[in-house]
């Protein structure tokens, strides 16, 4: 009988605390710097081309084989502006298969791929599953518009 009354006081006690609800979508949680949403490609603003050379390292390392990469000869290297001999031609990531394990970021030799650490990385729901296959321009959009400060481990 006494224990039952203890439970009642415990419940009444929490009534006086501030509720812990965050009212999404008007309020967001603050995401930490290392947040790991989906991978995006980075843009090199010095030379005005992507960092990615299409070397297939991430494609091989991906556990779920969600990437497709092709490379082409870099026209800027022929013109003498860039040191990258090859540059990425097509880059597809299927966000529906990606398991966000960060291995692609770790194996990249050029620090060309990073995880999207903004809140928008979590708001990617679409109506048709095929819209989740992101192509190169969609992947580079965030970095080109300077909206991101990605965190690459060890960098």
């Amino acid at each position: 009988m006494i224990g039952v009354l203890r439970s009642l006081t415990a419940t009444m006690g929490t009534m006086l605390r501030k509720p812990v609800t965050i009212q999404y979508p008007t309020q967001h949680r603050k995401v930490p710097e290392r947040e790991r949403a989906f991978p995006i490609l980075l843009w090199d603003f010095d030379i005005d081309e992507p960092f990615c050379t299409g070397c297939h390292a991430c494609e091989r390392a991906c556990p779920v084989e969600c990437m497709t990469v092709t490379m082409k000869d870099n026209p800027k290297q022929a013109a003498g502006e860039s040191k990258r001999r090859k540059i990425v031609d097509e880059f597809f990531i299927d966000y529906a298969r990606c398991m966000r394990c960060n291995i692609c970021v770790e194996v990249c030799n050029f620090d060309a791929i990073a995880m999207n650490n903004t809140w928008t990385g979590h708001e990617l729901s679409v109506v048709d599953r095929e819209d989740l296959v992101m192509d190169r321009d969609q992947l580079m959009a965030l970095s080109k518009e300077k909206q991101i400060r990605p965190w690459v481990p060890g960098a």
């Binding site: 039952v4 419940t11 929490t14 605390r17 501030k18 509720p19 812990v20 609800t21």
Partner: protein
């Protein structure tokens, strides 16, 4: 004193059937609004107990949530298992809801605000609310589902058993008041509410109400974690909401008003029959009834949100071994005191003393029956202290 326009418009000049019809419509409207408000209240209040906010998005602070829920349920597909017994299945929710609605007909919400002033008001209320058991059984049987049948049988056992403490609780009060008429019971409480004279039946009534409405901790028939929904597992849409929203909250409201009228003094205590505002007395009477039933409702929501559920055998032994004997003793002692009272003044004092003594005895009985080994024995060194260190 009754509402001026009510007397003038719906006075003796009106046909009695039309008069009853209009009063019924008023009760329907008030009940619907109150049920929506109670659903909203429960979600916000229980949410606060659980450190969260409750509905916030539909309307300012979520006030339109009940309307949104009602609209959603109205537009849901009306499912019926193909092997279900058609007529029993269709009618069962109504058989459960209509008796609960009919209990609202005998309740005087304020002075003069009733549908019918029955001489056997209390008897009528407890009798008619017992018909809901049939609805549960009909739903369980007609659903052609093992879960539903198990739930229906459990709920029939529970509801029939807890009828008796309910009856004994109000019977004790009617012996004190000398009448089954609700108006008479209220008028008797102009100086001291029946809660003071009869604390034990109040506790018995609260417990029996929780069990009659199948609320936690007595919700084993609609055990959300096992037989999901119990007898109502096959129902969807508006039919489901007739049970879980309308019946439960209308019953909660009706019984809470009954408790506040019979025990807490209704619109009579503490101001009595002194009239403050003439024809507008109903304002403070409304406020009084509202506050008292609100207090009872909040207590029941608080209890519902805190306790685990009792198993069916524990539930039944609680009813038959604790609530029932003490209810009987209370009725008998009431009868003795009222009949052989030494004097009028001592009657009230004796009633208070005997009822409090029985309340203490019942608490002791509950304590002894549910006594568990002390914390040291149960827990040992596992969780030595109660504080976070």
């Amino acid at each position: 004193m009754s509402l001026p326009f009510l007397w003038g418009v719906f006075g003796v000049n009106m046909n009695v059937w039309l008069d009853a019809f209009v009063r019924l419509q008023l009760v329907v409207v008030v009940m619907t609004v109150t049920v929506m408000g109670l659903i909203y209240l429960e979600r916000k209040f229980v949410g606060r107990l659980q450190m969260r906010l409750g509905p916030m998005r539909t309307g300012p602070f979520g006030t339109l949530q009940s309307i949104a829920d009602a609209l959603k349920l109205l537009t849901k597909e009306d499912l019926r298992p193909s092997t279900a017994d058609f007529w029993l299945f269709e009618i069962a929710p109504y058989v459960t809801f209509v008796p609960v609605f009919m209990t609202l007909l005998a309740l005087p919400f304020m002075d003069g605000w009733f549908v019918r002033d029955l001489q056997l008001g209390l008897f009528y209320i407890v009798a008619i609310s017992g018909v809901t058991v049939i609805g549960y059984l009909m739903a369980g049987w007609a659903s052609d589902n093992k879960y539903a049948l198990l739930g229906a049988v459990r709920s029939a056992a529970q509801l029939i058993s807890y009828e008796i403490p309910l009856i004994l609780g109000v019977l004790a009060v009617s012996i004190v008041a000398g009448s089954l008429n609700l108006n008479a019971i209220i008028l008797q409480q102009d100086t001291v509410p029946n809660l003071v004279l009869q604390p034990l039946p109040f506790i018995i009534l609260l417990t029996a109400i929780l069990a009659e409405l199948s609320r936690r901790p007595f919700d084993i028939p609609i055990g959300e974690s096992e037989l999901v929904g119990g007898p109502w597992v096959e129902y969807s849409g508006i039919r489901w909401s007739i049970i879980f929203a309308l019946t439960e909250y209308a019953g909660l409201w009706g019984f809470a008003v009954l408790g506040s009228l019979v025990f807490l003094g209704g619109w009579e205590w503490p101001f009595g029959t002194r009239s403050f505002w003439g024809d507008y007395d109903f304002v403070y009477q409304l406020f009084l009834v509202f506050t008292k039933s609100f207090f009872i409702i909040l207590t029941m929501m608080w209890i519902s949100a805190t306790f685990p559920r009792l198993r069916i055998d524990q539930l039944m032994s609680f009813c038959w071994k604790i609530l029932l004997p003490f209810g009987f003793f209370q009725v008998i002692i009431n009868g003795i005191v009222v009949t052989y009272k030494p004097s009028e003044e001592l009657r009230d004092v004796l009633l208070f003393l005997t009822s409090s003594a029985l309340l203490v005895a019942m608490s002791l009985a509950i304590y002894l029956a549910t006594r568990q080994p002390s914390r040291e024995e149960r827990v040992g060194k596992l969780l030595a202290s109660r504080s976070a260190q």
